[in-house]
Subunit: 328 residues, 4 copies
Amino acid sequence: MAANTFGHHFTITTFGESHGPALGVVVDGCPSGIPFDMDLLTRELDRRRPGSSDIVSQRQEPDQPEVLSGVYQDRTLGTPVAIMVRSTDARPQEYEDIARAPRPGHADDVWKVKFGHVDPRGGGRASGRETVARVMGGAVAHMAVSHIQPQVQVSGFARSIGPHTIADQDMATVSAGLGKDVEDLLRSARKEGRSYGGIAEIRVDGAPAGLGQPVFHKLKSDLAAAYMSVGATIGVEFGAGFSAAKSEGTVFHRQPADRQPYGGIRGGISTGEPMVARVAFKPTATVLDAAKKGRHDPCIVPRAIPVLEAMTWVVLADHLLRMRCDRG
Amino acid sequence: MAANTFGHHFTITTFGESHGPALGVVVDGCPSGIPFDMDLLTRELDRRRPGSSDIVSQRQEPDQPEVLSGVYQDRTLGTPVAIMVRSTDARPQEYEDIARAPRPGHADDVWKVKFGHVDPRGGGRASGRETVARVMGGAVAHMAVSHIQPQVQVSGFARSIGPHTIADQDMATVSAGLGKDVEDLLRSARKEGRSYGGIAEIRVDGAPAGLGQPVFHKLKSDLAAAYMSVGATIGVEFGAGFSAAKSEGTVFHRQPADRQPYGGIRGGISTGEPMVARVAFKPTATVLDAAKKGRHDPCIVPRAIPVLEAMTWVVLADHLLRMRCDRG
Amino acid sequence: MAANTFGHHFTITTFGESHGPALGVVVDGCPSGIPFDMDLLTRELDRRRPGSSDIVSQRQEPDQPEVLSGVYQDRTLGTPVAIMVRSTDARPQEYEDIARAPRPGHADDVWKVKFGHVDPRGGGRASGRETVARVMGGAVAHMAVSHIQPQVQVSGFARSIGPHTIADQDMATVSAGLGKDVEDLLRSARKEGRSYGGIAEIRVDGAPAGLGQPVFHKLKSDLAAAYMSVGATIGVEFGAGFSAAKSEGTVFHRQPADRQPYGGIRGGISTGEPMVARVAFKPTATVLDAAKKGRHDPCIVPRAIPVLEAMTWVVLADHLLRMRCDRG
Amino acid sequence: MAANTFGHHFTITTFGESHGPALGVVVDGCPSGIPFDMDLLTRELDRRRPGSSDIVSQRQEPDQPEVLSGVYQDRTLGTPVAIMVRSTDARPQEYEDIARAPRPGHADDVWKVKFGHVDPRGGGRASGRETVARVMGGAVAHMAVSHIQPQVQVSGFARSIGPHTIADQDMATVSAGLGKDVEDLLRSARKEGRSYGGIAEIRVDGAPAGLGQPVFHKLKSDLAAAYMSVGATIGVEFGAGFSAAKSEGTVFHRQPADRQPYGGIRGGISTGEPMVARVAFKPTATVLDAAKKGRHDPCIVPRAIPVLEAMTWVVLADHLLRMRCDRG
């Protein structure tokens, strides 16, 4: 049933299968008059793209976005903004045998139970390539939020890659990269057929207090749904996260605000302080797939970061609009 | 804006403030012909109720449910099932000063930013008492799932309470309690004004393969939204969870199935294997509230377990119905 | 499936069967800070109530509303507003034979096809008594709209009753009644076992320009859905309505604005001019039901008017909130 | 806000402005395994297309549909089906002055109030060209319904064009055309700058009993919303429609079933009998637009019929899936 739309006021509806003709997004509910920033859109797609360095998959996807609707003279019209990219590196023949032998760690078998078939074209809609559409939708959300609340910033980092944890002081310096140790690890993993899990960290600065609804659409609830809808995720935490579970309350609640024990969210509603979330990823299963040897991602975290950022922008845009209706 | 409904086909809409006249739920989308089990409903409410032992809050809430609609001659009609409980232990006078001084660790201040006021009656809708309505909705979902797929079981445990971790072999024996050490800890915490975080674990056995939708309504995404909508939650993980982030892929994906590395969910869709999720809770903030000394919960996990189970049943009922529309 | 909620931002979820324990509504998305007008609520319920004069059904339903949540110190909290009325004139025994013999003109037979049973208690949820919940939800919408846009007025009239058409000049004078001719017709119809169809007219004055969304949620589309969700409706038209179908364009579009050819809606969006809609009703089928002789409504229009007004307020409240998100 | 999606289980989300780069639809919730009938899709687009005869607008729009996702080896995958057509006859320069002078009878002025701008490109999203996307979505719905319930037929006719009413016996013979009198009327109207309103009739044969939900999603309510979301509509009625308003009940309800007094819907639910609806249209306003002289539609009804049929298929597909969840 209809399950490819995310959000309530500001929504993204995505379509497209890996190796199908195109992937795309329809952004509905984007207010009119938002300056459309084509550079931002292509920059975000480039960040997500595989083949951009030797620590990620070498599959080539130029990902040229085409804006099909909703924008006129560089401003949004208030109508749906549809954007698509065509697939150019499709190699359906290479995937034909998926139909016969479901790949371990992938969803081929459960997909067959569910829909009565497997899309043999590289996992079809279950492929990570689906996230192209999210990144495009997130870019539009980014434009909308930046117009309404220019001070909001979303930034993602790799907090850990397999056994390596990246300390706070290093995260600043390695925002473009991951540090030499980690990059060496990933480079050898790609060549030698290993893969690693990891943890991505998302920070939101400058968000106003009051985002989130009190019961079912708490900000943490909608963010968790957004993050856990990304492939290969296996956990999410806010602020102190799982370590809070071991804490005693009079100590925990009296921490200085800059420790962000709550992750900038209290009662499910943003406090105006910086927000912090961490998302855990499984090691990629593609490593088990002999056919794709050397084309797999040794760790999905670097490429997942722009996707998590995109989903964050969508949740923020949605809740900024929801908040307009809070008071009479 | 409208944000008090959870689910898509099978939905619960909850209402009510702590110390308001009543709390209730409207269950919409429950199929007709489901046997209505009044005992199950009251049993679940009793499990959630404070005052039931000396390790939880001593506030008394008899919580007598009244079925207002949707049931006739002990079967559901296919119409909305509305159930409410009246508040009987309301002490609004005791909370009057909340309006003046927001309580630390609570949402009073952000609520005021958002809605222009604070409900001084014990936190109003931000109170944990709101979960009464979820437990009632979850009980109806439980009845529906049990009728459609009788083999499905949902069970929750305390996996850790503050510094204490409860081992697998102990969880079976302490399903009714928590073990003497933990109970002693909580008893003294309640008396001496301390509180603890903790981790609840939810297991689903007997669920069919195929539950969940591939992109935005992955089963893990909807479960994460459900769990993180419960107050005081600060993290959620499935299967191996955050520990998977440290794993290498050829090892991780070749674990025996009974280790449940994926938590019974692959590609966002249930595999038919047992499902496992863990939810982390902050220490209760009420411990900071001098006015409620001795009436606070020293750890919210024991009382949150029936709430997490209830939300699990709702997600399962919703996805069992969604699944009916997967194929032509 | 879940189908008992109407609206998107401002929603009403209704529950209750005729002769069940209670009927009620949960209003979600009502902004905080709206003055709650209890008199308005009871006044609207009184207008809908049968037994209020000898031209409507003589069934007695005192309909005492009880506000269960969402209101504190006479203002809305921004949380769901739940209101219910208990059933007091329930005579389930009288309806027992419905289970055996579906009533002609009613939905008993299709209900059975659909849900596998018939609720024998006076039609259950298919009964006109369900509209009590709509009137309560509409009263809250009325309060919200009046606070946000105080100049908005909604008023309903009987435009025709069976063969009698009520002219413009008479409508003003008979707003409380229907004119002596029509009242005589209905009085004799009730005694002699006849019933009539009729047409209700709804006017909205003072609504701002810009309400309605351009494609699927045109204001006329949402109003039509609202009106056609009321029992016994069989048609709806706006402005010139079906007579426009016979018109030539250069004449039609050059009519003076006070003729309201478009009904105050152009391109699906309110123009700021008065809005006019008419709703056609079938004759009540209860007239065929020997068991209810003398307790039937000889024409449903007089009692349907407060229901149509209520649905109009809900649509207006919903679109006033939607409009807040139109621009960046 | 998000308002470009129609349906609940089976949904269409449309995008595109007249004279923008493309128009398209994302069909979400279409079950897997539906045979995809490309001929049906292009045939329906051809029926809607202007320029196909001399009684409709002479604007040329080849409307070549491209399926972007959701179909593999001629079967639906259960993933979103996205289809688009590119605009080829765009003449934006011709419309530049709309920005300066809103066209009478169009929505230019209210659109400006709402969104702060007018899309000068032929009305943008408010243009009738938007219906291309609906026809494509309706074609997919048609394929789905035909697979699930092969006996269902939807057929549309012109019931009246301006002053001409087309009798039952003629409707059969003029299904391809409209009869010589009417065609002459339209031909001269186009040349001489006149336009007419009219009434379209939609019949559904072979639909099962039980479609529709009892309260807010009555079949007649969802159909009315669907029809009234089409541009230039001004009224809708079912079965006997407005004439029922003049009837007496003991006569009305005892009519033979083949007279279809209820339009095949009782209590809001389909009875299994043929369904009949009629939709009234205003005369097109384009006739007032000197710039478009000779390119206007003299009556929109002939071109609106495939659009109304498309919306009917969407509602039927949605309710066929909803019905799967009615019983436990």
